[in-house]
Chain length 651, copies 2
């Protein structure tokens, strides 16, 4: 279907048009433009190489963009303009005029010029001002707005303040300031005074996030940028400054990321768009705190739920798998608490932890089981307002889902997570039947009669294909408002695993994401077993882990064995009473302590179906981590378990 | 099979024992020790975590190592010993005594102590000398030799000179200097005066290479070290200094490499061992140049061939594939030059380029075809002395191969490359029949009657699985003595491709290695098509590329189309006459120019069987590269070709 061509001049843009540079995603130019449009962007930066490699003219690119409803908001074909000899300047002016012609064909009216990086660039502000002035004059004749940006590794100009000083001195309507969050925040430079620049003197704003890294800033920029919300930069602060300046041009993602270059085009573009929405929402919150109203045109979704916790985890099973999972739950002293009123679905409970085993034929769970085998097909999250939570998720572009509902069953709003599993939003209203009461024939209506050692679900840990890691971070941040800790690399005996924990402000919801860097780690094997993303483990919380492991040992729960050397090292690292250490050793318990004295005691079961295992955790004194120093010990023990299983199978 | 336990004390070592740290390879400790022993090492450093995660005692580790004939030459369980308060020192001495006990159990008599990295480490050489003295005294009581090493990111001590100053001042037989090539060469520090240290005061020498990178030295060290010869450090210089000092202890590889952590254990260990052999050989050459004889105990293989060139490329084909390849060769004006005397093998020639198509049933080529389909199953290299070349290759641990030979056929020495393909070594002796004369019924015994535009083989480019990239670098460097240029990242529309060129000193042999970082690049598709390493393309050289492409266009050779925008950009980048540019455009020729004015003109055919293509290259004025700036244009055009083919198949 060919759409009617739209006007593409950037001057026709609405305030804060959302844009992305074509370099940010994979594919041919045609594939990129289609995906960028489908994701919801209205603007695009054409990266010079994408034009160069394209089998058609700049006018063809303009038509193709217009057919997709995209304005070409920027072109950046020029480097090292200023700080040069008079002779070189004359050549540069001639060259830039040729580029202006290309821009006319492209229908782009903004040209980005970065501060010179040439080793011989002359360090003389007066000269730079004069030469940028000549650029502005040439641009005025061509009807182009040039935008001057400080590169963090520029030869002489490295900060936005310096670039602004030059632009301000030139004082010409065809030379404006360009800002890029990466260049400012990578240098730990403050964006604080950006608000004081007149908004109409800012010509363009590029946005990029990045993980904090100790490396050369050029390399960091070229390979590790990511979408807002996926890295560690304080981007809402930065963007609030931009908005307060009165700037009304595009916010444009310019992301150089090695992973994105090989990731699926459409999914990456969609993540880019929702990352801008999330950034706008957070910027709006930032401004609202200051009672500043300049952010009125920013995207504002319903607020993220303030309290979130697991209501239940739902596993897709068949009869065989149900028997194995039910067997483990039984040993962990879960009780069979109810049977679904109309479906082959069983509810197990222990403390506030609830597990649902779904064997209903021809259901979503069934389809999930066909594809992934025994797997976590849905997570139900208890929120303040389920309808608002769904609205928020849908606003960020996640697909709402409606399943088959039987008589008397509650309609539960849900969205699909990046792996296609469901996230239900549940809220219970006073005086009405609970979800479990509505859907299940409960065997213990008034709550548990026995009280076991498990109190609830502490966290859920997922194994992901490497390419979906950042998509999940964005999903959990945007839908649930979770906060992410920095990613860590964990050594498995067969390679490295990237791991990142996210949790809600009140710590009611904790999710750990793992993606293997290498082919043969436990996390990689898990992804293979599930044919995609899958549950790595569920951690149940307990207030008394010694009681819990004692009970579970007696019930023949297969607990993972921890080598004796681990305890010798523990003794060397932490001062602790001998009998305490002995108890840890005796029960294969792992231990960690934080700087404030908070303690973490945890144990693992062996792995079920080569897929997932159960962790038991006791947090003491406000410990807020996940025992990361012990991950390598656990992974080594699991590798031995896998090797043993493989040997037994071979024999 | 259990071997008789060997003495494991390091003092019993022969000079320059070859060792590796267990952290350098993947697997469980048991798997690591088996692989290290099988690779030929006689020493091993036990990394502390490997002991910690092991389900057995230190004495068990000692026995396991001894069963494999391995001495445990070092243990490094201690950090931040010196530069501390008196109270902290007392604790450190107590702790290190416990570690000495573990070392006694392990049978290790060398302890590595790195310079302190603690932010509060006291910067006072006198204090450090005093405290290292106390360490030496404790070590003397335990019969342990402590080795003090400057970490490149140490708090106060960062260079080997500084560490040596402290060790020399302590002046105690139980405190020696430890050297690590990474810590010296990463700082661009010179190893030049190491030779002046008395060799018996050096306690341990660790060796690591690394690619030159602009990044934080700690991160660089922890993730990017590699085996000697795989990186960019001048390690033979460093090692020559060590040897000249009179040091006679282990040379030990301590390689922190993210890729090795996920790579196959045995193959990585084997590469490690041969990388040490190669380093010794190069060090020996270094010393021989100076007429220094201290390197007498170093490994000295037969010299690498001084002149190497392609004799022929041999493709595994069946009847169908032969028809397609022969069709392309025919269009490229290769002539059918001979038929093998006893096998279903045909020879094609054009200029000095020779291609052999092998369809012999039940042969090595047949097995290769079964596994990889149409593929390059062997490369024959013309060398000065084939027997010596084979000896050299076998000495580095590459597998010699003997195939079935018919009557009157020449026995051709060969080794297997890392992908299992063969490398034949051929030398022709005056007055004897050439290989082609011996093996083939030649149709043009006196050489070609017609002279075509192709003069020979310029280079061969391979697509590799990422994990085998560094193995190939080592193979080509050790067997043929090739030199490697720095690796570059090339952007394919669907991801990044790592590429590295190697060539012989006289430029007679050039090989380009490519490994895809991402899943869907052309290089990744090629690896999938071949089920492993495979030919990416063959580049034929010509002295007149305009004549060549004109001829080949007339012969309907399918040449890759280059977008018009490429030529507009070329004009902007290089000053060139309009008619020259027009000729390039007309013939879809790519162009590059080096800083000295050398020129590279090249063109590509479309891809045959979704596997490989042919490049035509003309080098002018000593151009020594491969047109790297044009790789992205070519990859984009190939991506379009693939997409077109996929569309046509779908229709």
């Amino acid at each position: 279907m060919i759409k009617t061509p739209q006007p593409t001049a950037a001057s026709a843009l609405s305030p804060l048009c959302r844009s992305i540079a074509t370099v940010s995603i994979s594919g041919t130019l045609a594939e990129k433009l289609a995906a960028i449009s489908a994701a919801g962007f209205t603007g695009v930066e054409i990266f010079e190489n994408d034009l160069l490699y394209f089998e058609g003219s700049p006018a063809d690119v303009r038509r193709m963009a217009a057919d997709h409803g995209l304005a070409i908001v920027l072109y950046q074909p020029f480097r090292d303009f200023e700080g040069v000899s008079a002779e070189r300047l004359a050549r540069n002016v001639e060259r830039v005029k040729r580029k202006f012609e290309v821009m006319h064909e492209l229908g782009a009216d903004r040209l980005l010029v970065c501060s010179s990086v040439a080793p011989d660039a002359i360090d003389n502000d007066a000269l730079a001002i004069d030469q940028l002035g000549q650029l502005a004059q040439a641009a005025a004749q061509a009807g182009i707005v040039t935008c001057y940006e400080a590169l963090a590794w520029g030869r002489n100009v490295r900060t936005w303040r310096h670039a602004w000083k030059l632009v301000d001195a030139v004082n010409h309507p065809n030379l404006k300031l360009a800002l890029d969050s990466f260049h400012t925040l990578s240098l730990d430079d403050t964006p604080d005074a950006i608000a004081s620049i007149p908004g109409n003197r800012i010509g363009f704003v590029q946005i990029a996030d990045a993980p904090k890294m100790q490396m050369d800033v050029l390399e960091w920029s070229r390979h590790y940028r990511c979408f807002p919300g996926q890295g560690d930069f304080a981007l809402a602060d930065f963007t609030a400054q931009v908005v307060k300046s009165g700037y009304q041009g595009p916010l444009s993602l310019e992301i150089f990321n090695d992973g994105f270059r090989g990731a699926p085009t459409a999914a990456t573009a969609a993540d880019g768009h929702r990352s801008l929405l999330l950034l706008e929402a957070l910027t709006h919150e930032e401004l609202a705190k200051e009672k500043d109203t300049t952010g009125a045109t920013l995207y504002t979704p319903p607020a993220a739920p303030t309290h979130t916790q697991w209501q239940f985890l739902e596993f897709a099973v068949n009869a065989d798998a149900r028997e194995r999972v039910a067997g483990l739950l039984d040993k962990l002293h879960f009780r069979r608490a109810g049977q679904h009123r109309s479906k082959d679905v069983t509810l197990y409970r222990h403390g506030s932890a609830a597990i649902v085993l779904n064997a209903e034929p021809d259901s979503f769970a069934d389809a999930f089981f066909q594809r992934h085998g025994l797997s976590l097909c849905a997570s139900a999250l208890r929120v303040d307002d389920a309808r608002l939570a769904l609205e928020r998720a849908a606003g960020f572009g996640y697909q709402p889902f409606s399943g088959r509902v039987g008589p008397n069953e509650r309609v539960v709003p849900a969205v699909q997570a990046p792996d296609g599993s469901l996230n239900y939003f549940v809220n219970e209203e006073p005086g009405k039947p609970t979800l479990f009461e509505a859907d299940f024939a409960l065997t213990d209506v008034d709550g548990p009669t026995e009280v076991g050692p498990i109190t609830g679900i502490d966290h859920v840990s997922l194994s992901l294909p490497a390419g979906s890691f950042d998509s999940w971070v964005l999903f959990l941040k945007s839908v649930f408002g979770l906060q992410a800790s920095a990613a860590v690399l964990v050594p498995d005996p067969y390679g490295l695993v990237r791991s990142r924990a996210l949790c809600s402000v009140d710590r009611g919801l904790r999710v750990v994401l793992n993606a293997s860097v290498d082919q043969h780690t436990a996390a990689a094997e898990t992804v293979r077993a599930y044919h995609g993303t899958g549950l790595n483990h569920v951690a149940f919380s307990t207030g008394d882990i010694f009681r819990a492991v004692t009970e579970f040992e007696a019930a023949a729960v297969p607990l993972l064995r921890v080598p004796a050397n681990y305890y010798d090292d523990l003794e060397a690292r932490f001062a602790m009473p001998t009998d305490f250490l002995d108890t840890l050793r005796q029960h294969n318990l792992l231990y960690d302590r934080d700087e404030k004295g908070g303690e973490f005691l945890h144990a693992y079961t062996e792995t079920l179906d080569q897929r997932f295992f159960v962790e038991l955790v006791e947090r003491r004194g406000g410990y807020d981590g996940y025992g990361a120093p012990n991950a390598a010990v656990r992974l080594a023990a699991q590798a031995r378990q896998r090797a043993r299983a493989a040997r037994e199978q071979a024999e």
